[in-house]
C-alpha cells in the first residue's frame, strides 16, 4: 500500500497523449492507493444507502441525499486533512490551530467579495480575487505564527497555534471590528469601510457555489426564481423524474467540484513530497539536527511549508464555510474542536500518507461524524421511545424501577454530544493500538525519480536491484 513513485516515465509537462495519463492511472490502481480509496468509498456508500433506506423514508432522494452528504463531508475533511498532513505528516510541525487559519481565509474572502454597500461592507471584488486573497492572508498568518514558534519545541508550537486560533476567533467575535474604516487617518489613501460583523456574522453573496449554480440557473444569485439554463432545464427535469429535487442536484454538483479540489490537493502534496524539498521535510520530521548538520537551513523549509499548508487550510476553509453564503464566529468550523476533528481524521488514516489522509477523512466523516446521527435516527424510528426526557435526571429516575426506555430515548436524543465521547475514545484507542494510523507513516521515497533504477550499470551487479531502467534517460550521458 505504498505510494511509491512507480512510474519513472511520468512526464512533467502536460501529458503528451491520453495514453500516458491512462497508464499512470492504471499504475496507481495497481499500486493499490486509488483502488483502496475506491473500495472504502464503495463500502461507505453501501452503508449509507442502507442507512437511508432504514431511516425515515424519503425514497430515492433520501438515498441520493445521504450519499451526497457523506461525500461532501468526506471531501471537506479530506482537503483539510491533506493540508494538515503537509504540516504534521511531512514535516512534523504540530499545528493545532487549523481552525484559526481557516477563519483567516474565510474572513479575508468575505471582506474582499462582500458588496460595498452591505452590512458589514466589503470590497465587492470578484470571486477569484477573494479566493487568492484568502489563501495569501492565511499564508501570511502562517508566517506570522511560525516565525516565533518554529524555533520552539513541538508542544510549544501546538500551544502557540491553538492560542492563535482562539485569538482569531475572539477577535472576530469582538464588536471593535464589527465595522471599521481602513486607512481612515492615513493621508493620500482612500477610506475603505470594512467589518467582521462580529456576532452578527457576515454575508457572502459571492461564493464558490455561484459558478456551480450558474450551470443550472440564469440567475445563480437567486435560484428560487427558477430561471433555468438550457442545460439546467434538461438535468433538473431528468432528476425530478426520479424524485430528486433541484437543491440536491446543485449540492451534488458542488460536491463533485470539491472532489476535484481534493484531487488537486493530493496532486500538489505528492509533488511536494516526492522532491528534494520533500526529502528535506522528511529529514526535519525525523531529526532536525541531522538536517541542519547536512547543511539544510531548516527554518526556511519549515516556514515555507507552514505557509503553503496554511494557504491550503484557508482555501479549504473558503470552500467549506461559504456554501451557505453566510458565516459567523460561532460556526463550528472555527472552533478548536474543528482542528481536533481534522487531526483525528489524519491520525485515523496515518500521518504522512496522502492516501491515508483521504481515507481518514472519509472514515471520519462517514463513521464518526455522520454515522452516529443516521444510526440514532434509525433507532428512534424502530424503538418506540415516546417523548424523550429532557434531562439526565429525568432519564435516570425510571431506571430505578427497571424502566430503561426513557434512558434509551435520552441517549438517542443526545447522540450529538455522545459522538464527541466516541471521537475521544477512538483517538485514545488509536494512540494505544495504532499510533501510526491505518496506513502508517509515509513510505513512498521522497524523490522525483525512482532511486532504485540506475542510469548505467557500473561494475558487476552484486545482487543489486534491477538496474535496467535507464531507457528513459538513455541519451543523457553521451553529451
Amino acid at each position: 500500500m505504498s505510494e511509491s513513485d512507480t512510474d519513472p516515465s511520468e512526464s512533467d509537462g502536460p501529458p503528451s497523449d491520453g495514453r500516458s495519463a491512462v497508464r499512470r492511472l492504471g499504475a496507481q490502481l495497481q499500486d493499490g492507493d486509488a483502488g483502496l480509496i475506491a473500495l472504502v468509498m464503495a463500502g461507505i456508500y453501501v452503508l449509507f444507502t442502507i442507512f437511508a433506506i432504514l431511516g425515515p423514508s424519503q425514497g430515492f432522494e433520501g438515498v441520493v441525499a445521504a450519499i451526497q452528504t457523506v461525500t461532501l463531508w468526506t471531501a471537506l475533511y479530506a482537503m483539510l486533512v491533506l493540508a494538515l498532513n503537509l504540516h504534521w505528516g511531512y514535516a512534523g510541525l504540530f499545528n493545532i490551530g487549523v481552525a484559526g487559519f481557516m477563519a483567516v481565509g474565510v474572513y479575508t474572502f468575505a471582506a474582499l467579495t462582500a458588496p460595498t454597500g452591505a452590512t458589514p461592507p466589503g470590497l465587492g471584488l470578484p470571486l477569484w480575487v477573494g479566493i487568492v486573497g484568502g489563501m495569501l492572508m492565511a499564508a501570511l498568518a502562517g508566517a506570522l505564527v511560525s516565525l516565533p514558534a518554529l524555533r520552539l519545541r513541538a508542544d510549544y508550537l501546538a500551544i502557540v497555534t491553538v492560542a492563535f486560533s482562539e485569538i482569531v476567533r475572539l477577535s472576530l467575535l469582538s464588536t471593535t471590528f464589527e465595522e471599521f474604516t481602513l486607512f481612515s487617518s492615513v493621508p493620500f489613501l482612500p477610506d475603505v469601510p470594512l467589518g467582521t460583523g462580529a456576532g452578527r456574522g457576515i454575508s457572502m453573496p459571492i461564493n464558490p457555489t455561484i459558478p456551480v449554480k450558474s450551470i443550472y440557473y440564469t440567475n445563480p444569485q437567486n435560484p428560487a426564481a427558477g430561471d433555468f439554463t438550457a442545460f439546467g432545464e434538461t438535468v433538473i427535469t431528468a432528476f425530478r423524474a426520479v424524485g430528486v429535487r433541484q437543491t440536491v442536484v446543485v449540492s451534488l454538483t458542488y460536491t463533485l467540484v470539491l472532489l476535484g479540489f481534493v484531487a488537486l490537493f493530493y496532486w500538489l502534496l505528492r509533488r511536494i513530497g516526492n522532491s528534494p524539498f520533500g526529502r528535506v521535510l522528511k529529514a526535519i520530521r525525523e531529526d532536525e539536527l541531522v538536517a541542519n548538520s547536512l547543511g539544510k537551513d531548516t527554518r526556511m523549509f519549515k516556514i515555507k511549508v507552514f505557509m503553503v499548508g496554511c494557504a491550503l487550510m484557508g482555501l479549504g476553509g473558503i470552500l467549506w464555510e461559504t456554501q451557505r453564503g453566510f458565516t459567523d464566529p460561532t460556526s463550528t468550523t472555527f472552533r478548536p474542536i474543528q482542528t481536533f476533528y481534522i487531526f483525528i481524521a489524519l491520525i485515523i488514516g496515518g500521518a504522512g500518507s496522502n492516501t491515508g489522509g483521504v481515507l481518514g477523512g472519509a472514515l471520519f466523516a462517514a463513521l464518526l461524524f455522520q454515522g452516529p446521527l443516521y444510526v440514532s435516527r434509525i433507532l428512534s424510528k424502530f424503538i418506540a421511545t415516546g417523548d424523550a426526557p429532557s434531562t439526565f435526571a429525568g432519564a435516570l429516575a425510571p431506571v430505578a424501577s427497571l424502566n430503561l426506555t426513557p434512558f434509551v430515548a435520552y441517549t438517542l436524543q443526545n447522540v450529538s454530544s455522545l459522538r464527541f465521547v466516541l471521537v475521544g475514545v477512538v483517538l485514545i484507542v488509536l494512540m494505544h493500538r495504532r499510533p501510526t494510523g491505518l496506513l502508517g507513516h509515509r513510505k513512498e521515497v521522497a524523490s522525483s525519480i525512482d532511486l532504485g533504477k540506475r542510469t548505467s550499470r557500473t561494475g558487476p551487479g552484486e545482487g543489486r536491484p534491477a538496474t535496467d531502467g535507464g531507457n528513459d534517460v538513455g541519451g543523457e550521458r553521451d553529451d
Binding site: 492560542a163 492563535f164 478548536p336 471521537v423
Partner: protein
C-alpha cells in the same frame, strides 16, 4: 548570588537580544502611561493622544484585585499542569476538563448538602445531583447556597471536588496514560486531547450544556474613601450616607486609622465573600503544598524526577509512586480550582475548564514548566494581564492579550521566568 546572576542575565539580554529589550521598553512605556493616566495628565500631538488620559484610582485597584483573584485560581490550576508536564513530559490537554469535572462533582455535593439543610432534598435528589439540570427544582436562591449562609455545604463541595478529581485523574492515568509511558510527548498530548473530548461530553451528557447559576448573592465588603478617610462598610448605601456625613447607626461601618488625604471621597474596592474564599483557600492550599514538598521525601523525589527522569530511575526513586503522587496533587488542585473559580463566578458550564486551559498553559509557560512557584507567579501575572489590560484595550481582547504575553515570553525566554532555576 542568584540576584547578581539575574542582573547579569538582564544585562546580557539587553545587549544581545533586541527583542527582549524591545519588550522591556514596551512594558516601561505602559507603566509610564499608567502613571500619566492616574495623574490625569495627557500628552497629545496633532489631536491624537500619545500618552496618558484619565483613570480613576479606584478602577485600577479593582482591576488589580480582580486580576489577583483570577490569577490565583489560574495559578492553583496551573500547578497540576506544570507538574504533569515536567514529570510525565507531556502537555495535558485534558487538564481543563479535570477542572470542569471537579467543579461539577463539588457543586453537585454542595447543592445536595444545601438542599438537605433547607429541606428541599425530597424528590429533588437527582435534580440537585446534576446541579440543577432541567427545570422544576429549587433554584440556587431557594437553596440559599453561599459562603456565609451554608458554609458546610460549600466546604463539603470543596472536599468532594478535590477527591473526585483525584479519582478521575488516577483512573484516567490507569486507563490511558500508564500504557503509554514509553511513548513520545506528542503521542501523549494527542491521547490527552481524546481524554479531554470524552470527559467534556460525558459531563454534557449528565449535566447538560446549559450555563447555570450556582450561588445566592453573598456578602461583600466595600473599601472607600470618605472625606479623606479610608473606611470599610458592607453596604454601598452606608458609604453614600457616610459621605454625606450621616453614618447609619445600625450598619457596619469602620473608619481605618490611616493617614488623612484631603477631601477625597470615592469607592475604591469591593471585595465579595466568594472572592475572599477563593483567595484564602488558594493561598492555604498553595502553602500546604509548599510545606509538603519541602519537608517530605516525596517532595525531594518529585523534584529529582522533574529534573531528570532517567536519573531518578537509576537512583532508585519509585517513579510510579511519584507519578501517582503527581496526579493526586495535580488532580486535587485542579478540582479545587475548578470548584473555587465556579464559586467566584457564580456560574458553571461544561466548557469552564476548556476555556481556562489556554490561560493556564500561558501561566505555566510564563512561569517555566516544572516550577510550582513559577505556575503560581505565572498565574497571577496572566490574571493581572487579563484584567489590567482593560485599561488600554476592549474587554474582548483581554484574553488575546494574555496569549500574546505567553507568545512573547516563548520568544524571549522559552524556559519561562523560573525555568532552569529551581523545580518543584
Amino acid at each position: 548570588m542568584a540576584t547578581t546572576e539575574r542582573i547579569a542575565d538582564v544585562r546580557l539580554a539587553v545587549t544581545e537580544r533586541p527583542t527582549t529589550a524591545l519588550f522591556g521598553a514596551f512594558v516601561v512605556l505602559l507603566a509610564l502611561d499608567l502613571v500619566f493616566k492616574l495623574l490625569g495628565f495627557e500628552l497629545t500631538a496633532g489631536g491624537a493622544s500619545l500618552l496618558g488620559g484619565s483613570l480613576r484610582f479606584g478602577r485600577l485597584i479593582t482591576l488589580v484585585w480582580n486580576g489577583l483573584v483570577v490569577g490565583l485560581g489560574i495559578g492553583l490550576a496551573g500547578i497540576g499542569l506544570s507538574m504533569t508536564y515536567s514529570i510525565l513530559s507531556f502537555a495535558n490537554f485534558a487538564h481543563g476538563d479535570y477542572i470542569t469535572s471537579g467543579a461539577f462533582a463539588g457543586w453537585a455535593v454542595a447543592w445536595l448538602v444545601a438542599g438537605f439543610g433547607s429541606g428541599a432534598l425530597d424528590g429533588n435528589v437527582l435534580f440537585l445531583a446534576t446541579v440543577g439540570f432541567g427545570s422544576g427544582g429549587p433554584s440556587a436562591g431557594e437553596l440559599s447556597v453561599n459562603v456565609l449562609q451554608t458554609p458546610f455545604a460549600i466546604f463539603s463541595g470543596l472536599v468532594v471536588a478535590i477527591l473526585a478529581t483525584v479519582a478521575v485523574s488516577l483512573l484516567l492515568d490507569r486507563l490511558v496514560f500508564e500504557p503509554m509511558r514509553d511513548q513520545s510527548g506528542i503521542a501523549l498530548l494527542i491521547a490527552s486531547i481524546g481524554v479531554a473530548l470524552a470527559l467534556r461530553y460525558v459531563v454534557v451528557f449528565v449535566f447538560g450544556a446549559r450555563n447555570r447559576g450556582l450561588t445566592a448573592g453573598g456578602a461583600k465588603l466595600i473599601l472607600a474613601g470618605v472625606e479623606g478617610k479610608l473606611a470599610l462598610a458592607t453596604q454601598r448605601s452606608t458609604i453614600i450616607r457616610a459621605q454625606g456625613g450621616d453614618v447609619p447607626a445600625d450598619a457596619f461601618y469602620t473608619e481605618l486609622p490611616v493617614l488623612d488625604f484631603g477631601g477625597y471621597s470615592a469607592e475604591l474596592l469591593t471585595v465579595t465573600s466568594v472572592e475572599l474564599t477563593l483567595v484564602v483557600t488558594s493561598l492555604a492550599l498553595m502553602y500546604g503544598l509548599h510545606v509538603t514538598l519541602q519537608r517530605t521525601k516525596l517532595g525531594k523525589a518529585m523534584r529529582a524526577m522533574a529534573d531528570n527522569e532517567d536519573l531518578a530511575r537509576v537512583t532508585g526513586i519509585p517513579t510510579e509512586r511519584v507519578v501517582r503522587a503527581t496526579w493526586i496533587i495535580g488532580g486535587g488542585l485542579a478540582g479545587a480550582s475548578g470548584y473555587l473559580i465556579a464559586l467566584e463566578r457564580g456560574t458553571l458550564a461544561f466548557n469552564l475548564g476548556w476555556l481556562l486551559l489556554l490561560l493556564i498553559f500561558a501561566a505555566v509557560i510564563l512561569g517555566g514548566i516544572g516550577s510550582i512557584y513559577g505556575a503560581i507567579v505565572g498565574g497571577i501575572l496572566i490574571g493581572l494581564t487579563n484584567s489590567v489590560s482593560l485599561v488600554w484595550i476592549p474587554s474582548s481582547f483581554s484574553t488575546a492579550a494574555a496569549f500574546a504575553i505567553m507568545i512573547v515570553v516563548l520568544v524571549i525566554r522559552p524556559a519561562g521566568l523560573y525555568g532552569g532555576v529551581t523545580t518543584a
